[in-house]
Symmetry: C2
Amino acid sequence: MAGPRNSWQGVQDEVMQRIRTRSWKPGETIPNEADLAAEFGCARTTINRALRNLAEAGVLDRRRRAGTRVAEHPVRKATLRIPIIRREIEARGMRHGYVLLERSEHAAPETVCAEMNCDIGTRLIKVRALHLADGLPYVIEDRWINPNVVAGAREADFSEMNANEWLVTNASFTKGEFAVSARSASIEDAMTLETQAGAALINVRRTTWDGPHGITLVNLIYAPGYQIQTEI
Amino acid sequence: MAGPRNSWQGVQDEVMQRIRTRSWKPGETIPNEADLAAEFGCARTTINRALRNLAEAGVLDRRRRAGTRVAEHPVRKATLRIPIIRREIEARGMRHGYVLLERSEHAAPETVCAEMNCDIGTRLIKVRALHLADGLPYVIEDRWINPNVVAGAREADFSEMNANEWLVTNASFTKGEFAVSARSASIEDAMTLETQAGAALINVRRTTWDGPHGITLVNLIYAPGYQIQTEI
DNA sequence: ATGCCGATAATGTGCATACATATTAAGGAG
DNA sequence: CTCCTTAATATGTATGCACATTATCGGCAT
């Protein structure tokens, strides 16, 4: 599976093995790249790639001149995949449905302006929609869009094409923020998601930016039972 | 910031620029590595590193012989950092506190056995503890440990050293699963976290494995208001 | 048309080498 | 002893080359 001993994957596996078996202990400095290359019988480049990869994963700590050490407190990194909603639903083998609940344009509340870094009073587009999986409520998409940043947003009506996909293909961002929290279902949430008020829901809030300009701020309110899963 | 045009970072930035400005459109095939190397005046290796990096980030789709294309539906990847709890609290500038609530050993429930892949009736260690930030409840750590997989777990009493840190330094895993969901506070949760029953809480469930053997299964139940944040 | 199969073109990887850069250690001046 | 300069060292990166791997394309036989 891992490939031969002299491939970067092979080196990576062997290094992991030594860390797991405590042959190299947390905090300890491991041999330098040149020595490892000699030991493994491969080029330093190969060792470098393996160790760099493990450093990115948080298993190793590398510093120039100081050398490479086994991370004392391995800050493991899990990568979350963030697909567009339609594909997330289809990937689970379910049929995607979409209902536009509201589309309006008005001066945004102060808190929204603050988060999107736009002048108070800027007229933003508000979109509220429901995504369905096999006909059942899946997630509420509650979104603000700044039409001054995204060309064509005023003309899109989001009744056929959902805002999530429209933005992915029509706007590009340089930076994004992402927060997951828990939320007690409001009466409105509960009615839309066909559940009971007070139910515990996952709320994902995402802001995306084009340079200094906030493009969109979205709250995704998932139906009960939703889980964000990944491997470490 | 980005370095000169002929560094892999420079290439990466320029490629991102072209994607953002729709100079290379989603789904479109971009020039091959050799051509790009000629255009940028650098080695193919350098181009390769830049494109490989962007492919890992989900921006590009690469296939041998078929070439490199701009991802149609950019499945962005956010990386979550998972530090040990004490350091997470200290990183926020707060003082970490710890209270062991329960430590027992008994035959595990069927559902736990199923998730940890151990025989039904296996005696597991159960640890329930509360972590505090500046004296206030921060998260409940509700954990099962398989002492047959982790040497020394039976001897550790977890009253001083918390199980989270003990495991990090005494066990190593080959694989881990990770799920975030929302949970309505039970009466017991509410009392421990000093909040009200029914409050919406973030629940992180993590299982770690050493090969085929489940090491530990933990539910982290965070106090209200907790957010998981990251950048994209 | 259909299916097999080899040529081909793209990425994936490894190697030897050179130089860049950061950081520590050592040494010298005051 | 302290501060500054300088040298040594480990990692970071770029290059040119070679070969491995794998889809895809196109031709050929059925």
